[in-house]
């Protein structure tokens, strides 16, 4: 019997799922250390206030309390660092106010931690936290970028005048102005990208541990990138060298970006464990998650397109205000700049683009990258703008896109906003998406819906996104304070099974399956004989973690490079055993063969020889079969595609139902089609959530109104439909696998498709644009106003 095909291209079932679906995962909260204590944070319930006094005496003497700490106790440690520095138009560095671990002198958002209580039980810590007397003097607060920029707005940080973090730009301003001056038509659109709460299924957890006999620290944490946390917390906050600090991120139940960042609770429990000589555990409750996990999106923008009379895009001008929240989260400054404005060419050959981005502090939870990070904001802006052009001018949404797409033969394509796309074919993804969505049959379906009293609309979006952020030298020149390479260590064990130590981290993506398939394909090792190890700085050489759909393109390529080294060494061993020249050894299907003969050695035989080197070229090569590669990509990868959404609206209630959703994506080479389909479906569900349901709402005093699932609408199965997913792939040209990435495409392409469909359904009611979420009340308001206007 032939072994089942389990290499690249096979829909192998996810090997991690047995433990996940049977409740046998090992999540951070499942970990308990001997003699453990429990931390509970006392957080601000005010958006902006001076701290007049904190009295911890009653809390300290409460039953079971081990310690109570405030900022005063943490004076010797640093603030939470920011990993990316943007420079403003005038060359000045961004305002980078201190982000204290516990509030110093002032609280700046609801949820800002003020004190921590550590007690024998969580219950005792909670009881004592309530006994801390905090005297706050309220200050005026702002939640929105527009309010925060008003003259006279409350100053959130002394060293950020006018609440401006940076005022940045990209592109050719003069050429853009010149193009606008000659335009036959200019279409302008004001739009907002709604603030979202990530809401990973597993709340954040952190356990600090300290061994006084070795002076080793361990942090168990819900992180997408344990080495990054080790570096940020060790070097910048606690002053601990790498060899004395181990960071473990075990099974993690979803991240979506929110678990990239280094958070105050991680530093607090690690520091306190050292101070107390006892493990300290903190587990967020859901309310804390809402007010302390970095939020996503929150842009206010104006977009203008200059067109000639034929509908060719001549120039794009964009002005965006980006909400940073009260402090700079780890990678926040990069999101509305290099992950957003550089994407504004999208799928179009717009010759000149100029974008200005002002990042603004407000009294809200810090905002950082959330699934898509900048690219959904750019895509929403562009694709709403294109449909608005059609609304204003009468151009057809399909025709105008086809007319302005970057031609198939134009790759590599240099955009006017820094990026150079290596490959793509937007014509094919759109053609297939329209076919799969039966776009041509829409008028008949619309008529059938109208007969039932329903408004039916169809919307298209096309998108281009950038994954696997790279290369290190370029991102460094743009302000990144880290490299963006990836690391893989491939260990072929003596009997031929393989352990892969990857610096990427799986928190739902299925790496244990997909990455094993790479080994099966390249080394010919059976899938069952491959183990993927991640999430522990003591086991993995180094790594930058998982975000920006980088694991396969960057981490997978590092594996390929390490496996190349394994094969190269294996050839030398094989040449020795087979008494042939190294140049004559070929490796295929797990076996080293002398070219043109049937003399061969399997990888297992080579591995055994490498570890039992009795008959071995010991003077030429070392024993063992264990290789490491660091891979720094030459460029981003550029997935793209087309999403088509069809909605039906109940005009009496304003309720929108997604009736059809079709995604056709170009994600590069597909390793596991089933996992790609799942990733796209999940991303589309989140995009539909953003478009129709999700909204982090602050009131005018910066109180978070949608602070629980009672008010924050998560997408649920009955909000969705069966999502049709297909791929039409072009290969990445600069990595050996040809892979691009699929983790975010769903969340990037879908929101404008949904909104274009909603607005198309409401065409008869005079709507030109609406901001997300397209809630029933908003839609009813439009219908009601349209009806009144018609009367």
């Amino acid at each position: 019997m032939n072994a089942p095909f389990e290499g690249i291209g096979a829909s192998v079932r996810r090997k991690e799922d047995l433990r996940f679906i049977s409740g046998r995962g090992n999540y951070t909260d499942d970990i308990n250390r001997p003699n453990q204590t429990y931390a509970v944070f006392r957080r601000s319930d005010r958006p902006h206030a001076n701290i007049i006094s904190i009295d911890t005496s009653a809390a300290k003497s409460a039953p079971g309390v081990v310690a109570v700490y405030t900022a005063e106790d943490l004076a010797a440690i640093g603030g939470l660092p920011c990993g990316w520095q943007i420079h403003s138009k005038d060359g000045s560095p961004m305002a980078e106010p201190k982000h204290p671990v516990l509030a110093e002198g002032k609280v700046r958002h609801v949820g800002d931690p003020i004190a921590v209580v550590i007690a024998e039980t969580k219950q005792q810590a909670r009881d004592a936290a309530e006994l801390i007397e905090i005297d706050l003097q309220d200050l005026p607060a702002t939640a929105t970028v527009t309010d925060a920029l008003k003259s006279g707005a409350a100053q959130i940080h002394d060293n950020a005048p006018g609440n401006v973090c940076y005022d940045w730009h990209i592109g050719d301003k003069e050429a853009t102005e010149a193009a606008f001056a000659k335009a036959a038509k200019i279409v302008k659109l004001d739009l907002e990208n709604n603030r979202l709460v990530p809401n990973a299924m597993e709340p954040r957890v952190a356990i600090g541990d300290y061994d006084r006999h070795t002076s080793d620290y361990t942090l168990f944490t819900t992180s997408q990138n344990p080495h990054v946390i080790r570096l940020l917390m060790g070097a910048f906050v606690l002053g601990l060298p790498e060899h004395k600090l181990r960071v473990v991120a075990p099974d993690v139940g979803g991240g979506f970006g929110s678990k990239i960042y280094h958070y105050a609770e991680e530093a607090t429990v690690t520091w306190a464990a050292g101070k107390l000589g006892r493990p300290v555990k903190w587990t967020a409750d859901r309310t804390e998650s809402f007010m302390s996990d970095a939020h996503g999106r929150d842009h206010v923008s104006t977009a203008e397109m200059a067109l000639d009379a034929q509908g060719n895009f001549l120039a794009l001008r964009v002005n965006t205000l980006a909400n940073m929240g009260a402090y700079l989260s780890t990678f926040a400054p990069a999101v509305p700049t290099y992950l957003y404005a550089t994407l504004l060419a999208g799928t179009y050959r717009t010759p000149v683009i100029y974008a200005e981005v002002k990042a603004v502090f407000t009294n809200t939870v810090p905002v950082d990258a959330y699934r898509g990070a900048g690219r959904p904001e750019a895509t929403f802006l562009l694709e709403r703008l294109v449909d608005t052009i059609c609304h204003d001018t009468g151009f057809d949404p399909v025709a105008i896109r086809l007319q302005n797409f970057i031609p198939k033969d134009a790759f590599p394509y240099q955009t006017p906003v820094a990026l150079q796309y290596d490959s793509g074919d937007y014509f094919t993804t759109m053609e297939v998406a329209m076919k799969n969505a039966d776009y041509a049959g829409f008028p008949a379906r619309k008529a059938a819906a109208a007969a039932k009293g329903k408004l039916r609309g169809i919307g298209i979006s096309t998108y281009l996104e950038a994954c696997g952020i790279a290369p290190s030298a370029v991102v460094g020149s743009l302000g990144a304070r880290a490299g963006l390479y990836e690391v893989a260590n491939i260990r072929v064990h003596p009997t031929g099974s393989v352990s892969v130590f990857t610096g990427t981290h799986s928190h739902g993506q299925g790496h244990e399956t997909t990455l094993a398939q790479l080994v099966t394909s390249q080394l010919g090792v059976p899938f069952s004989q491959v183990e993927i190890v991640h999430g522990d700085t003591n086991r993995i050489p180094f790594g930058m973690g998982t975000y920006g759909s980088r694991s396969l393109a960057v981490g997978g390529t590092a594996m390929v490079k390490a496996m190349d080294k394994i094969i190269a060494k294996g050839k030398k061993i094989a040449a020795h055993l087979l008494e042939a020249s190294v140049d004559d050894i070929e490796f295929a299907d797990g076996s080293f063969k002398v070219a043109g003969t049937d003399r061969a050695k399997t990888l297992s035989e080579i591995a055994l020889t490498a570890y039992v080197p009795h008959n071995y070229p010991i003077t030429e090569i070392e024993p063992g079969l264990d290789e490491t590669a660091f891979y720094d990509p030459a460029n981003f990868t550029f997935p793209g595609g087309c999403h088509v959404c069809e909605v039906e609206i109940d005009p009496e209630t304003g309720v929108t139902s997604i009736v059809n959703f079709t995604a056709v994506d170009d994600v590069g080479r597909v390793i596991n089609p089933m996992i790609v389909e799942g990733q796209v479906q999940g991303g589309v569900a989140q995009g539909i959530g953003q478009a129709l349901l999700e909204h982090a709402v602050y009131d005018s005093n910066a109180q978070l109104l949608s602070g629980s699932f009672m008010d924050y609408t998560m997408p649920r199965a009955d909000n969705l439909t069966n999502i049709s997913v297909a791929t039409e792939n072009t290969l990445c040209t600069h990595n050996p696998l040809g892979v691009k990435g699929c983790g975010e495409v769903g969340a990037i392409g879908s929101p404008p498709a949904v909104m274009n469909a909603v607005i198309s359904a409401l065409k008869d009611y005079g709507v030109r644009h609406m901001n997300m979420p397209a809630s029933p009340e908003k839609i009813w308001g439009i219908i009601n106003a349209g009806r009144k206007a018609a009367e």
């Binding site: 009881d127 949608s706 924050y712 609408t713 009340e777 009813w780």
Partner: protein
Amino acid sequence: MYDFGYTKPSSLADAVAALAGDDEAKALAGGQTLIPVLKQRLNKPTKVVDLSKLGLSGITVTGDSVTIGAMTNHATVAASADVKRAIPALAALAGGIGDIQVRNRGTIGGSMANNDPSACYPSAVLALGATITTNKRSISADDYFQGMFTTALEAGEVITSVTFPVPAKAAYIKFKNPASRYAMVGVFVANGPKGVRVAVTGAGQGGVFRHTGAEAALSKSWSPASLDGVSISPDNMNSDIHASAPYRAHLVGVVTKRAVAAAG
């Protein structure tokens, strides 16, 4: 959760005694509101009196009434062939409360005693003109509801059952809050021995209320069309981030019509 005392009496008299004279004691029925409130430390009872051993669950259907024991959970009501036959709208309402977990724990007595302004059951009780029976007395629906989270129940009074007259026609339609899935506007319409009655939950600031405008129109002619031109003032409607008062007032009209259409 704060510490609290806990008792599970096995007779109604013991339960009443445990609650009597202690304003800070709380009765526990299905716990679908009380337990979350305790977990969030929003309530600090001296003791929790668990009513689950009092034998208060069960359904009795006669020719003209349905009596549901206070501790009967929603899933049981939803699945009851007798209720489905006598008042299908009531079984459907119970089957649409919360999710499976809530329906397996939540009880009609708990829902009635709590009188959450977005709960489903109060609309059925008020529209059908049900009678609430307690350890002390019988209370008509019209006297029972006294505003949001407020009822005619006195301290130490425990609901034992609710009796619904069987209507000729009835239906309940719920427009759910998109986030919480509670009723943002829920309308129960009934045409029965107590006349034409329309009760609205979720929408009003004072909790469940009767939509007298719709009742008058439907009394003349029981049809969706007879509600054309009937509107309701947004003045006493709830307003939140999901629905303003005018939108809720509009939805009351839409949902009432749909309920009448569903009732046939």
